[in-house]
Amino acid sequence: MTSDPLVIADRTFRSRLIVGTGKYPSHAIMADAHLASGADMVTVAVRRVNLTDRTKESLLDYIDQQRIFILPNTAGCYTADEAIRAARLGREVGLSNWVKLEVIGDERTLYPDNVALLEATRVLVREGFVVLPYTNDDPIVCRKLEEEGAAAVMPLGAPIGSGLGIQNPHNIRLIREQARVPVIVDAGVGTASDATVAMELGADGVLMNTAIALADDPVAMATAMKLGVEAGRLAWRAGRIPRRPYASASSPTEGLVSAGGAKQ
């Protein structure tokens, strides 16, 4: 798989698995899970510094920045302005102009507000950001995001943290067919086979957090996800057989020893 890197904008990643940094039982387990996942890009959120408890260890102490690229998100932002502000702050902390752009439209589903997302993408691309927008599995919205200059499109497989798997495989396939930028399935993965399905549909990568962080054994699940993504990618490249309604024997029909002797 080393000859099959993921290229987004001007950066090359060895792994097609992108993982989060939230919800882990501890920073140490997170670091082990990151290592097991093989991911070389992780997402982080931008939040107010805790001024009352300065003893809390810093997340950054547990991310090997020589090996792992940090992608700040705009999670929790409900308007284009909030997301733009969070993106600018994230750039200032991380000194990179990459952003996983989220503009959330609804608290219960955490589905994106695509109108605001398009607006924020337009503004941030103009400011020189490399924008990776989290979006619905809607081919039209993905096309418009690409037209606004998004460096990748990141359609959801299912709601964030739901673990429901890829709910609309057909749309992911359509998005992949038309997109000229990488397609990263972001959110909804529950287990390794979900990641494999995403990759078999032609996704260029998968982004996940909860499925690993809240697994009973996050490190083992991170390994499973790494293998799931690799398996799906290989299967996609190998080219699956067409589906057919009836059987097609794998063993030859000629030369079969039958009760009636040799038949021609």
Binding site: G20, T21, G22, K23, Y24, M30, T43, V44, A45, V46, R47, R48, V49, L51, R54, S58, L59, L60, I70, P72, N73, A75, R85, R88, L89, G90, R91, E92, V93, G94, I160, G161, A187, L207, M208, N209, T210
Partner: protein, 66 residues
């Protein structure tokens, strides 16, 4: 003087600079971003940026997220 620091009222010395404020709070400036009245103050400007009465200062960092 009184300012709003990360959304909460805070008492700080008059004419404190952003750099001094971070130092007082024990915050490594390389790991945070600072907004002063909605304007981001880049690291090289933090020593010369003076906070005034009633100003709003936001100090953010990276936390776990997806």
């Amino acid at each position: 003087m009184k300012i709003r620091l990360n959304g909460e009222p805070a008492e700080v010395p008059d004419a404190v600079t952003i750099e001094q404020l971070l130092e007082r709070l024990g915050i490594d400036p390389r790991r945070v971003a600072v907004e002063h009245n909605l304007t981001i103050i880049k690291r090289h400007r933090q020593a010369e940026t003076i906070v005034g009465e009633g100003d709003e200062v936001e100090i953010v960092n990276f936390v776990g997220g997806g």
